[in-house]
């Protein structure tokens, strides 16, 4: 009997359950897609430490997301309860027990939840393939339809069941202890005069100042030379920053609400005053929610800039670590088949030019001193410079070469800087600052000497001991090729005795790392955004349900439909966009903080950072606008029905 009633209630309350259904469906789909990736074969094959490190981290991430989703679902079920308080109160007065009502509500939400679960898994099947495709595109890999791992499905079902039980327990707790009179009364919450109006502007100013102070001090701490000794200080700054982030939006909302009401009501036009009061009530009553959502959106806004900066830094690192597209070296292997290597490489990419050369490690005699020098023959070095597009001037003597990384820190890649004569040891004609790691293969080389070919034997004989390394460098015509396969083939050529390093392969390996990071960040972002929008929609519809009698009064007083609709839109727009506005406001000091931190590295310009933030904001705005439009339409339909259904004075 109760089950039949539950099914009928779900059918009749379809509009109430709509937002709940959409939210659960989408979150299940996201979780399913994420877990299919996490437990699938593709990631396992891409990353060597996947099973030991990466997978546990991603599973932990999905568990955290599950906790966030449970919070939102608890909120969604509370929304459903709020809308039907009177109905449940009526059931109690008609003689149903609380147990009956609990069973009825459990049945209704379980039916909806199971429908959402089924729809979410169906959607997740497609979303997983889409995500896999996007991921492979991101790492320049080849997409192949991925299989669905049993582990992923089981973990999703387990997680979703836990989420449902947790969210449901909250609702049951409410229904179990609520008084009949409170249920029958519904929501009778009126506006109240603010008691300490100056408190909120003061708190807003104080939290803004505290947050800025924490940012500035944190940047100062990172920049200081003894930062490692003052970790406790940094912890305090972070704690202060987090507290400010939480309190600032709440105080700003209360402050804004109070300011909105200060205008003389006699000067109001149309429904202006009503709109202001409703906005004030929404902002004031939901300041904590807006604060939490602002933090979520702030993370979503700051995240891409941090991500892009890290990716740029890593790609630059790949460039810095290897000057040539392909390098190889071996100290003992005498029969290095570099010609065969070039022929093999040709199968994967166009080889523009290559050079096999010798690099000499020279050491003073043990009893004579501790000198160490690396040298290269002039002809070899001239060829290496030519590979990098630089024409070495005529020397006629020794040339001191220095790695730009050791001279300038992180320099612009690919630049040479020649300085002739002056202040050098006897026999040297000049110094040349070279692109980073020009002759380094495996171990970093700070400086080396270029010796004219004719004087090489004399020069080497002046050292106590000399070790020659058979090195190789090549430049390719194209940038993108199957570098991972090429690297494997080249290394197999010598049975892994000679290790070939392909810059493109290093880039792809870095991309895989970032791809995993990107995957996790994307999910965090998507879930944050989706849940934020859903919470705003649910909260809005709850508030509109309470506002319906007010709109009826306004209609009777002669307020036009267009004016009421406009007023509703403004209220909802402010409510939806307030968290984004606060997030944008908080993004300013945070962006400045990150920019100050990475200014020396010049990872991005200020314009780029603002541009990225603007693009993300536009995307957030678009998603929120979509939810806003849907909420407006549902809310207005609700209000119109309410007005029409009670067309009496």
């Amino acid at each position: 009997m109760l089950f039949k009633l539950a099914l009928r209630n779900v059918r009749r309350q379809a509009s109430s359950y709509l937002i709940y259904f959409i939210t659960v469906t989408l979150t299940v789909a996201f979780l399913f897609a994420l877990n299919s990736m996490v437990f699938g074969e593709v990631l396992r094959q891409l990353h060597p430490a996947y099973e030991s490190i990466v997978r546990p981290l991603l599973v932990a991430l999905s568990a955290v997301l599950g906790a966030v989703i449970a919070f939102v679902l608890a909120y969604a079920t509370a929304f459903l309860l709020r809308r039907r308080k009177k109905e449940f109160g009526l059931y109690l007065t008609m003689g149903m027990t609380r147990g009956n009502i609990l069973a009825l509500f459990a049945g209704e939400t379980a039916v909806t939840f199971l429908c959402s679960l089924a729809a979410g898994v169906l959607l997740g099947l497609g979303l997983y393939q889409l995500l896999l495709y996007a991921f492979m595109q991101f790492i320049d890999g080849t997409y192949q339809a991925g299989g669905y791992a049993a582990g992923g499905i089981l973990w999703t079902v387990l997680l979703v069941a836990l989420i449902f039980l947790l969210a449901f327990a909250v609702s049951l707790g409410y229904l179990r202890f609520a008084k009949i009179s409170a249920l029958l009364a519904g929501e009778r919450k009126g506006e109240k005069e603010v008691r300490l109006p100056w408190l909120w502007p003061l708190l807003a100013a104080a939290t803004l100042a505290a947050g800025t102070f924490a940012c500035v001090r944190f940047v100062g701490w990172i920049g200081s030379s003894d930062f490692a000794d003052r970790v406790g200080e940094a912890t305090a700054y972070i704690a202060l920053l987090l507290a400010s982030l939480l309190l600032f939006p709440a105080s700003l909302c209360h402050c804004g609400a109070w300011l909105l009401q200060r205008r003389d009501c006699c000067a109001a036009k149309g429904l202006g005053r009503v709109t202001l009061r409703h906005i004030s009530a929404r902002l004031g009553g939901s300041s904590l929610l807006i604060g939490l959502l602002s933090i979520l959106l702030t993370v979503a806004l700051v995240g891409p800039n941090v991500f892009l900066a890290c990716r740029t830094l890593s790609e630059r690192q790949v460039q810095v670590e290897q000057a040539f597209d392909v390098v190889a070296a071996h100290t003992e292997y005498t029969g290095v088949p570099y010609e065969e290597g070039v022929a093999l490489l040709e199968r994967y990419a166009d080889v523009a030019a290559s050079r096999a050369y010798a690099r000499y490690d020279c050491f003073s005699p043990a009893e004579g001193g501790s000198g160490h020098e690396i040298c290269v023959a002039e002809s070899d070095f001239r060829a290496l410079c030519a590979l990098l597009g630089y024409a070495l001037p005529d020397l006629g003597g020794l040339l001191r070469c220095e790695d730009a990384y050791y001279v300038y820190g992180i320099p612009a890649v690919g630049t040479f800087e020649y300085k002739e004569g002056e202040g050098l040891s006897e026999g040297y004609v000049g110094t040349l600052v070279c692109p980073p790691n020009m002759i380094s293969v495996g171990t970093y080389v700070e400086s080396w000497v270029v010796v004219p070919d004719g004087r090489l034997q004399d020069y080497l004989s002046g050292w106590g001991s000399v070790y020659a390394e058979a090195c190789f460098a090549a430049q390719l015509a194209g940038e993108r090729y199957d570098a991972l396969a090429a690297q494997d083939a080249l290394n197999a050529l010598t049975g892994n005795l000679v290790s070939f390093r392909l810059r493109e392969a290093a880039r792809l390996e870095t991309l895989v790392d970032f791809g995993l990071f990107f995957l996790a960040a994307l999910f965090l972002f998507a879930v944050c955004l989706l849940l934020s929008a859903a919470m705003l929609a649910l909260k809005s519809l709850t508030l509109v349900a309470e506002d319906k009698p007010r709109y009826r009064i306004l209609w009777r007083l002669g307020a036009a439909d267009a004016a009421m609709r406009r007023s509703l839109f403004v209220q909802l727009a402010v409510f939806f966009l307030a968290p984004l506005a606060v997030a944008l406001l908080m993004n300013v000091p945070l962006l400045a903080c990150f920019f100050a931190l990475w200014q020396d590295l010049a990872l991005f310009s200020f314009g780029q950072a603002v541009g990225t933030a603007a693009a993300v904001s536009a995307f957030l705005l678009a998603v929120l606008a979509l939810y806003l439009a849907a909420t407006c339409a549902v809310a207005w339909k609700d209000i119109r029905t309410s007005i029409r259904s009670e067309n009496r004075l």
Binding site: G190, E193, D264, C265, G270, R273, R556, L557, D561, N647
Partner: protein, 254 residues
């Protein structure tokens, strides 16, 4: 005197097919400017329907209603909203104050809807709050007011635009007898001092006795009407009770 309201052979049906209910069956009457008229009748006699069609909340099935010579027939929805806003004032049984607004904001709301200027609104507020004695209540929210105070605020809201006609639907329905008397005295003041024209629906013969004229509806028809004339209120109330008894009861015997 100037005619404010004219109701001519007003007919209203609800439902369709075989389940048609006739709520008004050709009601005709008029109200002059400055009149205070009570409408009485048993439950289902058509009182509320009459008020709804005058307020353009329910469309008429036949006949016509005109306020200040403007017919409601064929009025579009937007025009109906403007008509309610510009020509009518409302006083409801449940006060219908917006709980999110202060008393001051509730009172000036109809002027806000008309987009009246600041100075005009302020002076109208002073005039009305002075006349109806709600000055001390202006900064309070509805939940801080008693039932009688809320109804006084609702009266102030109804008269602030100096509407052509004030429609009151069981205004004392939620009040005790002391507050009901005070409210009726307030209605008389609104009528006498502010020149308000009032059409009030009530079950209560004592409340109706404050009016100049009482209309009696039965089965959707105008059954009778009484004028108070020079009589005192007690006599008028007795006559109302007698008329009600003749219609078969249906009002609160007080």
């Amino acid at each position: 005197m100037q005619e404010i309201l004219r109701v001519e052979r007003a007919v209203k049906y609800f439902g369709s097919g075989s389940a048609v209910t006739r709520a008004l069956a050709g009601v005709s009457f008029s109200v002059e400017k400055g009149e205070f008229v009570a409408v009485m009748g048993a439950s289902g006699s058509g009182k509320s329907t009459l008020l709804n069609v005058i307020a353009a909340i329910e469309p008429l099935s036949g006949g016509d209603v005109a306020v200040e010579g403007v017919s409601l027939a064929h009025m579009r929805e937007k025009e109906q909203a403007r008509y309610r806003r510009d020509r009518l004032g409302f006083i409801f049984q449940e006060y219908n104050l917006l709980d999110t607004l202060t008393a001051r904001e509730n009172i000036v709301l109809p002027l806000n809807l008309r987009r009246a200027g600041r100075e005009y609104t302020r002076s109208a507020l002073e005039r009305v709050s002075g006349a109806l004695g709600v000055g001390a209540l202006l900064d309070k929210f509805p939940y801080e007011l008693s039932g009688g105070e809320r109804q006084r605020v609702a009266c102030a809201r109804a008269v602030i635009t100096s509407p052509a006609l004030i429609l009151a639907d069981e205004p004392t329905g939620a009040l005790d007898s002391k507050n009901s008397r005070a409210l009726m005295q307030l209605f008389c003041r609104m009528n006498a001092q502010l020149g308000a024209t009032i059409l009030m629906v009530t079950h209560d013969a004592a409340v109706a006795s404050y009016a100049w004229r009482a209309l009696f509806l039965q089965d959707g028809k105008l059954f009778s009407q009484l004028y108070r004339g020079e009589r005192d209120r007690a006599d008028f109330q007795n006559e109302i009770l007698s008329t009600v008894a003749a219609t078969g009861g249906g009002c609160d015997a007080l």
